[in-house]
């Protein structure tokens, strides 16, 4: 018995037994029935208890009730409009900006929730009433506030004040600022952003807030009761009229009026439920997209790093005939290389973007430390580094989405440091696309042109040109939700390019895509760039991507530039251990240098760059394809090793070795032909020697 219950619990842990469920539902129905449904039915029953004729007479035949209806229809919508304007302003300020006192401001919005309506009415009396602060002055001027419509409006606005803001805040926060920032980067101005991006995105939430606010405004009693003065036919709103009829023991009259208010409540609920459902659906589909992307991204991250082989790192199959003496090429760089210092200018090339001595701190964290880079005109440059290296911050500073603490940004020798992103004319492609979800593909791409007031025909022409460029000409009428990730990214790119930006900036443009699409898009981007030659910078943490796409690579770490160069330069001549380590697989040994030699475990290598007698710790790096395996010792630098594992799958054969004498595991990559000659198996004894090593002496500069 117990076990079977456990089995059920495991299979459907969230489901209660049917009997329990039925009981729970029954209790819920009883409670809600008694508290809510019976009273609701009773309102209409009592209203019609003398028949429909009496009902009609109680409403249409009572002049005071009729005027109360009209007054309510005047007062409530006015208060709602006032609160909508406030709600939009407050939600924009709170959901989009951080400022001192933000938490306090947010709690103050809730204040009327906690203030008794009677207290609110009293407060207004104290200011506008006959004995109030402004009472005497108002009487002289002949302005009536309390005991008149303006007072009713103020009291209603006070009590219903939080509703719109409260509904909008979470919706705006959930939607996030991505699309609005994208709008700014595409050249839209304040009002344009609000009207064409924010408003369509929050429309359901806004409508919901309006409906709720309106229902409460029409039903407001306590505050209105205090300020109305109860002048029949003049200052009685419908709820006040209900009370007056009740005091007069006019059952049908009061319930008839109440039935109108109840119908209003029911209609409100129906609309609210529909809108809530729409808002929830919108937000859910956003969340789903974001989650799907995140899953794809993490899957990629976990799949890529160790197995990645960059194109220029293909094993040197022609090298090392069996009998040749290995030549050891020692490449030495000190860690304090020229990284981050003077701008790296490529001779003869015109500069497209010049980043000069840029620093940026977030609190205690230094995101960028005196970074200087020149991006040649028309080049495609990758900012490559691990997360937290400052590459995205730098990209955002180039775009003007973030302000540098120090330093300057120049586009073709024009200082743009102080310009807004709108005035810099940049194209920015966001990692999660930031496409405008309520617009079609066509409208998305047309957006930067429309906000620049292009002519209709020109927009048409330009957008089709771009859609052809991204090979999506037939999908112009779709909305982003109907596109695949790769298609969306291409649309984002077309949109960024629409206004012919001086500079194209891409933030991890392929990070959210799956591996196959990613590879295709990479090649496509490279070809596209060869066609349009716009100066481009893209951020990536994937070295393979950087190698495949870019003309030059900027390797970044801890807010510094570690090295700048062509893909081949940084791979073949890494400036330091970090670059060596970050770009692909490498075997790392820790040893020392002294007296012109580098000593690492059993290896003793000539190292004339360090002639001093004082020993220094050093790190030696050997790439897997720069190690050679043989059956026999080929010289003094050969090490005896045991084969642990052989993985012949793929274009190259991966071999794991254990060096006997100093217990160090080694990764070696062999060309398939060489593997065929050697015929090694796990457990074999072999000799291994480096064809090329790189030694980096710590804290040593010549």
């Amino acid at each position: 018995m117990a076990t079977s219950e456990t089995a059920i619990a495991v299979r459907r842990a969230q489901e209660d037994p049917a009997l329990v469920r039925a009981l729970l539902i029954a209790i819920a129905f009883a409670v809600v029935g008694l508290l809510v449904i019976v009273p609701m039915v009773n309102v209409f029953y009592q209203a019609f208890s003398q028949g429909p004729g009496a009902y009609w007479n109680a409403l249409a035949g009572d002049a005071d009730t009729l005027s109360a209806i009209w007054l309510t229809l005047k007062v409530a919508p006015t208060a709602v409009v006032l609160n909508v304007v406030f709600g939009l302003a407050a939600a924009w300020a709170v959901a989009r900006f951080r400022f001192r006192g933000r938490a306090l401001f947010t709690s103050l919005i809730d204040l009327p929730f906690a203030v008794s309506p009677v207290v609110a009415g009293l407060a207004l009396m104290l200011i506008f009433g006959l004995q109030g602060w402004l009472g005497a002055w108002l009487r002289e001027e002949g302005i009536k506030i309390v005991f008149a419509t303006p007072g009713l409006i103020l009291a209603t606005a006070f009590v219903t004040f939080p509703f719109v803001a409260r509904e909008l805040l979470p919706v705006m926060e959930a939607i996030g600022a991505d699309e609005e920032i994208a709008g700014v980067s595409l050249g839209a101005r304040g009002w344009q952003i609000f009207r064409s991006i924010t408003l369509p995105n929050i429309k359901w939430g806004l409508l919901y807030g309006v409906i709720l606010c309106n229902a409460r405004a029409m039903g407001e009693f306590g505050a209105v009761y205090v300020v109305s003065g109860h002048i029949a036919g003049q200052t009685d709103t419908l709820p006040l009229r209900v009370e007056k009829l009740f005091q007069e023991y006019n059952t049908v009259g009061s319930f008839a009026a109440a039935s109108l208010l109840s119908s209003l409540a029911l209609v409100t609920l129906a609309i609210k439920t529909t809108l809530e459902w729409k808002t929830r659906r919108d937000l859910a589909s956003r969340a789903r997209e974001a989650a799907g992307e995140a899953v794809a991204a993490t899957a990629l991250q976990s799949a890529t790093p160790t197995t990645a082989q960059s194109p220029v790192a293909a094993p040197d199959t022609a090298a090392a005939p069996a009998d040749a003496q290995p030549t050891l090429r020692l490449v030495q760089r000190d860690n304090a290389s020229d990284a981050g210092g003077a701008p790296h200018r490529q001779e003869g090339a015109e500069v497209g973007i010049s980043i000069r001595n840029v620093s940026k701190r977030f609190g205690d964290f230094t995101a960028l430390d005196n970074v200087s880079i020149d991006v040649p005109h028309g080049a495609l440059v990758a900012l490559l580094g691990p997360s937290g290296s400052g590459k995205t911050t730098l990209l955002r500073i180039i775009a003007g989405l973030e302000a540098a603490d120090q330093g300057s940004i120049h586009y073709e020798d024009v200082d743009t440091t102080k310009r807004s992103p709108r005035d810099r004319n940049v194209g920015f492609v966001f990692q999660h696309y930031a496409l405008f979800r309520h617009m079609t593909v066509f409208d998305n791409v047309a957006f930067p042109l429309r906000v620049r007031k292009w002519k209709r025909a020109e927009i048409e022409h330009r957008v089709h040109e771009l859609l052809r460029l991204i090979q999506l000409d037939n999908l112009g009428k779709q909305v982003p939700g109907q596109l695949s990730g790769g298609q969306r990214q291409r649309v984002a790119l077309a949109r960024a390019l629409a206004a012919s930006p001086k500079v194209l900036l891409l933030d991890e443009p392929f990070g959210a895509l799956d591996a196959k699409v990613r590879a295709e898009l990479r090649q496509w981007l490279r070809r596209l760039h060869d066609e349009i030659h716009v100066t481009s910078v893209f951020v990536t943490h994937d070295q393979e991507e950087a190698f495949e796409v870019s003309d030059r690579i900027v390797v970044m770490n801890h807010g510094h530039v570690e090295q700048i160069g062509t893909p081949e330069e940084v791979f073949e001549h890494p400036a330091n251990g970090f670059v060596m380590d970050f770009l692909g697989n490498v075997n790392v040994f820790h040893g020392r240098v002294e007296g012109g030699r580098a000593v690492v475990g059993g290896l003793d290598l000539a190292y004339p760059e360090y002639p001093h007698h004082e020993a220094k710790p050093a790190t030696v790096y050997v790439r897997p394809h720069e190690l050679e395996i043989d059956r026999y010792a080929a010289g003094p630098s050969s090490l005896r090793a045991e084969v642990l594992r052989v993985n012949p799958a793929g274009a190259a054969v991966k071999v794991e070795l254990m060096v006997r004498d100093f217990g160090v595991p080694l990764n070696v990559v062999l060309a398939p032909e060489r593997y065929g000659q050697l015929q090694i198996r796990a457990g074999d004894d072999v000799y291994v020697f480096p064809k090329r090593v790189r030694v980096f002496v710590q804290d040593y500069s010549i």
């Binding site: 819920a28 009273p39 006032l82 204040l111 008794s116």
Partner: protein, 275 residues
Amino acid sequence: MSDVNRRVLPGFGLSLGYASFYMGLLVMLPLLAIVLKSSTLGWEQFANAVWTPRARAAYGLTLGAAFFAAVINVPFGVLIAWVLVRCPFPGRRLFDAIIDLPFALPTAVAGLVYSSLYVPNGWLGRYLVPLGIQGAYSRLAIVLVLTFIGLPFIVRTVQPVLADLEAEIEEAAACLGASRLQTFWRVLLPTLLPATVTGFALAFARGIGEYGSVVFVSGNMPFKTEIAPVLIVASLESFKYADAASIALVMLAMSFSLLVAINLLERWTKRHGYV
């Protein structure tokens, strides 16, 4: 996100400026007027105004009735939230929508109908009054109508937390050998507790300030069924403005402490990763 947006997105000064201005004029200024008005009384007069036996009885009733109503709503609110999230039945969406009726229904209507239901010849009163249960013009009447008013607060704070609860939590508990009831007591209830307390506090705060429905059902007898807001109106109608303001100040103090408590609670909840 912080300084980025202010640099990039427009309208920070305008939106915050306008919102603060409007809020200051419409809400802060009137509340300030209450404080200033009550301070025109000396300390002794103030104490005399707010601490009469009649006022004390009114505070006690206001707090007590609101508290009991909120307490009643806790088990029912959690149960209804549970049913809405976990127990599919036909018409659940409609049922879900009805829960919000107390939000949307004008309080005067609620008061009107509650007063007619529990009188001796009313739909419910005809069965309850013979049993000695006076559901109209009594303290019970106030508690009943405040229970109606407060019902959505707990349901609507607990429901989303319950809906977002990951199935893994309960599956893990089940895998670890917990029975369904144990899982509920030891795993689910603690998770729902912060939301429940927040909902309770919201319902309580709403109950303290409620006026429209209570005036209909209570009978407004001093010392017996007179709540504090009614006392304010009574003072006002006899033109004792300063007295009214003083009692209002006491009520404001009660509501503010609740509001602060709710805010602290929500912050604590967020920090501990419940939401």
